[in-house]
């Protein structure tokens, strides 16, 4: 394989890898505070993209993106408050079914509001044919926007969880919910925050990827499957491992194009998901004993 082609595939793989990683981190944040997988995570990505596209005509692009992220966060909080918060010690299965229901609801509402048409945000810098040279390969500047924005999010999130009081409260809830309550932390609020945070990062990823991948009402499902694969691959709840697993899946998918027909690309994620669930359900980086202690 020519070195330029190699770099080309690699850049594409890293781009998609980061997007998967952000969706997976969204899964992890909610998983850590509630112990459930929020299957509406992909819909947050779709909502972010769609809202930004609609707002873009009315306000400048950066404002549109900021507004789209803020609105999606609000929707995340509202959904949690309406459908999950008031449940008294719900079972894991019940909460998962609720999130699946929410994902269908959001998708159908999006279909009514935006229709079936495929839309996209304009490229943040340059246009469709602008390229810059990276190690001999020609890549779109939007790819650098995606990689930059996603790595910034990952970095900011890890600082947030480490050094801010709110981040520490959320980790405390994840580590021991009862003890967190005894410290005076309201775990219900932490769950609402975790939905807001997941919705926010999902929406931002949805905006930066939109120029390359386009946005339509149904993209959430596919992203949720990829993100779920990555979250499981890395080990549920471990966000740094999710980044590594995301990049791995993205790169495998990108290079598969050179040996397999393009149509098989999506099958790869499902195959990896099945293999992981059979062979290493605690993930590549997860610990088996820790996984055994989890309810789900």
């Amino acid at each position: 394989m020519a070195p330029e082609l190699f770099v080309q595939y690699l850049m594409a793989g890293v781009t998609y890898g980061f997007i998967y990683a952000i969706v997976a981190i969204g899964f992890n944040i909610i998983y850590n505070t509630t112990g459930i997988i929020n299957f509406a995570q992909g819909e947050f990505v779709m909502l972010g993209g769609m809202l930004a596209i609609s707002l873009n005509g009315l306000v400048p692009l950066p404002v549109a993106i900021a507004l789209a992220v803020a609105i999606t966060m609000l929707i995340g909080a509202l959904l949690e408050i309406t459908f999950i918060r008031w449940l008294d010690r719900p079972s894991v299965l019940r909460m998962i079914i609720i999130t699946i229901g929410l994902s269908i609801l959001i998708r159908e509402v999006a279909l009514h509001v935006w229709g079936e048409s495929v839309r996209a945000l304009p490229y943040f810098s340059g246009n469709e044919i602008t390229t810059i040279a990276v190690l001999g390969a020609r890549v779109s500047p939007q790819i650098l926007w995606v990689i930059g924005a996603c790595s910034l999010m990952v970095g900011t999130l890890s600082l947030f969880f480490r050094y801010t009081l709110l981040g520490q409260e959320m980790r405390a809830c994840a580590a021991n919910r009862m003890a967190a309550t005894l410290c005076g932390i309201n775990p219900r609020n932490m769950v609402t925050f975790s939905f807001m945070l997941s919705a926010g990062i999902g929406a931002l990823a949805g905006c930066v990827m939109s120029p390359i991948t386009s946005t339509e009402y149904s993209i959430g499902t596919g992203l949720a499957i990829k993100g779920f694969t990555v979250a499981i691959l890395g080990g549920l709840g471990n966000s740094m491992a999710a980044v590594a697993a995301g990049l791995l899946l993205g790169i495998i998918e990108a290079f598969s194009v050179s040996v397999l027909p393009l149509a098989f690309q999506d099958a790869i994620a499902i195959t990896i998901l099945l293999i992981i669930l059979f062979v290493r359900p605690h993930g590549l980086f997860g610990r088996k004993d820790a996984a055994g202690l989890k309810e789900f």
């Binding site: 980790r171 410290c183 005076g184």
Partner: protein, 239 residues
């Protein structure tokens, strides 16, 4: 400080506490002893609001708290050191302590560094292990961390659930010395223990609980001398 009247509580249809009444005066150590399954931990869970009371009253400093959410009760000045330590295993010792002071951050005159220093003075081993993950501490150190975390909230009443469980005798002695010291510094302590003898030796008053009821109460030395208590809880044969 704490006054409980005819308290009933339980899980689902199972009533564990049957008309419990007790009180704790400011500045004293009160101990509640009893066998496994007597309802001691359930009583603490009900006081802290983790379980709702079915009937009865719980008053903290004259204010009824039996309807408040658990996190509000901590803010009213009643902290629990739960059974089995329950430290935040994946967080550092310092982070654990900082979270313990969570309810106090917004109050004026709360000096986080000064409070941390107080805890480190009380438990020097925690100062040495500040950056270590709490889950990697020994059992005794985790118990000290759990106590330190509860004290960070500057509670007017601190409740300890079986602090001696699973610890070496020397460490138990150390923990009990610290509890005595807390009382001498003006704190109020409600101590729950299976190690009845050790608990009664440092306590001012005690209650004996059996199958969800208080069966004996009195001054600690009276209970130590009580023949029934001796036979049932102090492992002493009385002819």
């Amino acid at each position: 400080m704490l006054r409980i009247k005819n308290l009933e509580a339980g899980y689902g249809k199972l009533r564990v506490l049957k008309r419990i009444s007790l009180h704790v005066n400011p500045g004293e150590i009160v101990t509640l002893i009893g066998a496994n399954g007597a309802g001691k931990t359930t009583l603490l869970a009900t006081i802290t609001g983790l379980i709702r009371a079915i009937a009865g009253e719980i008053q903290l400093k004259g204010e009824n708290i039996e309807r408040l959410a658990a996190e509000k009760i901590v803010a009213r000045g009643c902290s629990l050191v739960p059974e089995g330590r329950q430290v935040f295993a994946t967080m550092s010792v310092r982070e654990n302590l900082v979270l313990g002071g969570y309810v106090q951050y917004r109050s004026k005159g709360y000096d986080l560094t000064a409070e941390l220093d107080k805890i480190y003075a009380l438990f020097p081993v925690l100062a040495e292990r500040q950056e270590q993950l709490a889950g990697t501490l020994s059992g005794g150190e985790q118990q000290m961390l759990a106590m330190g975390r509860a004290l960070m909230a500057k509670p007017s009443l601190i409740m300890l659930d079986e602090p001696s469980t699973g610890l070496a005798p020397l460490i138990v002695k150390n923990i009990f010395q610290i509890i005595t010291r807390l009382r001498d510094e003006g704190n109020t302590v409600l101590l729950i223990e299976q190690n009845a003898k050790a608990a009664l030796q440092i306590a001012d008053r005690g209650y004996v609980m059996e199958t969800g009821k208080i069966i004996v109460e009195g001054a600690a030395d009276e209970l130590l001398a009580n023949k029934d208590v001796q036979r049932a809880y102090l492992g002493r044969d009385v002819e």
